[in-house]
Amino acid sequence: MANSMQEKSTPIAGAALDLRIWEWLVGLLFIGLLVFVTPIPKVAAIGLVFAAAVVKAVLVVRKYMHLAAEHWLLYVLALTPVVLIAGMAIALLPDIAFRP
């Protein structure tokens, strides 16, 4: 399959790309940790940390698992459970999370 992924500006080949992605992943990890230790409102902290997590996950899925280059069916297959879980969690909020 796709040996060389095309970045937006500079084309990078296989192993070098893997390394570059890793750098981003580690960077996002440290950003998350920084947010965690900084005294900012809790909701904001959680939001930022999870945003970082989502970006990390997308990087791994698109670049390490090559979903970016795959047939659309696999995209649907990967995305459907995420949507279902989100839907289930939201449906359960009134009943489980917000019980008086």
Binding site: A15, D18, I21, A57, V61, H71, M88, A89, A97, F98
Partner: protein, 204 residues
């Protein structure tokens, strides 16, 4: 015994059906991963829901070792790198490919074992303080989530080790080159689960 079907073969029938051209094993792995997302997603949702219901569990959560967790996250992310490098080198047709593949795969296994070792130490620290699975709902979730994840890491290590051993034999290298993609997909998935699990359990 009849020959196993060539599951990596791509069949060209030319009647406009692009779905048929997805290699069978890759499709199967993604189907399996979809079901795993439902398992972990379900558990994580339950954790979030009950955590909200109980006011956040901040007191309990203060006792998790976030630095250890962060270190483990680094370990797992790096193991994803080495796994990706192993898969990338598997696609090469140069001299020394098999050796490079084995090296990267070996690092992945070692890092995976490191993750588990650190986790075991972490568990023993927590047990020593009396934080067992029966010590309250927060800890029950902590052990269930991280424990199930660790079992998946273990399965991945076993899978990778099988490939690593096979790659030592020259006649099996082509098989490993094909199959390592699937091991890679599984390993990266285990990493993605941890990418969400770490903040959920340690950083909230």
């Amino acid at each position: 015994m009849e020959a196993a079907p060539n599951i990596e073969a791509v069949v060209q029938f030319g009647d406009g059906d692009s779905i048929r051209e997805i290699p069978a094993a890759r499709l199967a792995i993604w189907l399996f991963l979809a079901s795993e997302i439902m398992v972990f997603g379900g558990l994580m949702s339950c954790f979030m829901l009950l955590r909200i219901a109980h006011g956040g569990w901040d007191a309990e959560a203060a006792h998790v070792h976030w630095r250890i967790g962060a270190f483990n996250t680094l370990v797992l992310l790096t193991s994803s790198l080495t796994m990706a490098l192993a898969c990338t080198s598997a696609k090469e047709r140069k001299r020394g490919t098999a050796r490079r593949l084995r090296t990267y795969l070996g690092f992945t296994i070692v890092l995976g074992l490191t993750f588990l070792g650190v986790k075991a130490c972490e568990y023993s620290l927590e047990f020593a303080k009396g934080f067992t699975p029966g010590a309250g709902l927060f800890w029950a979730f902590y052990y269930t989530l991280t424990g199930l994840h660790s079992l998946h890491v273990l399965a991945g290590i076993i899978l990778n080790t099988t490939l690593w051993i096979a790659a030592a034999r020259a006649d099996l290298v082509p098989v490993v080159q094909r199959r390592i993609e699937y091991a890679g997909l599984y390993w990266h998935f285990v990493d993605v689960v941890w990418i969400f699990l770490f903040p959920l359990v340690y950083l909230t």
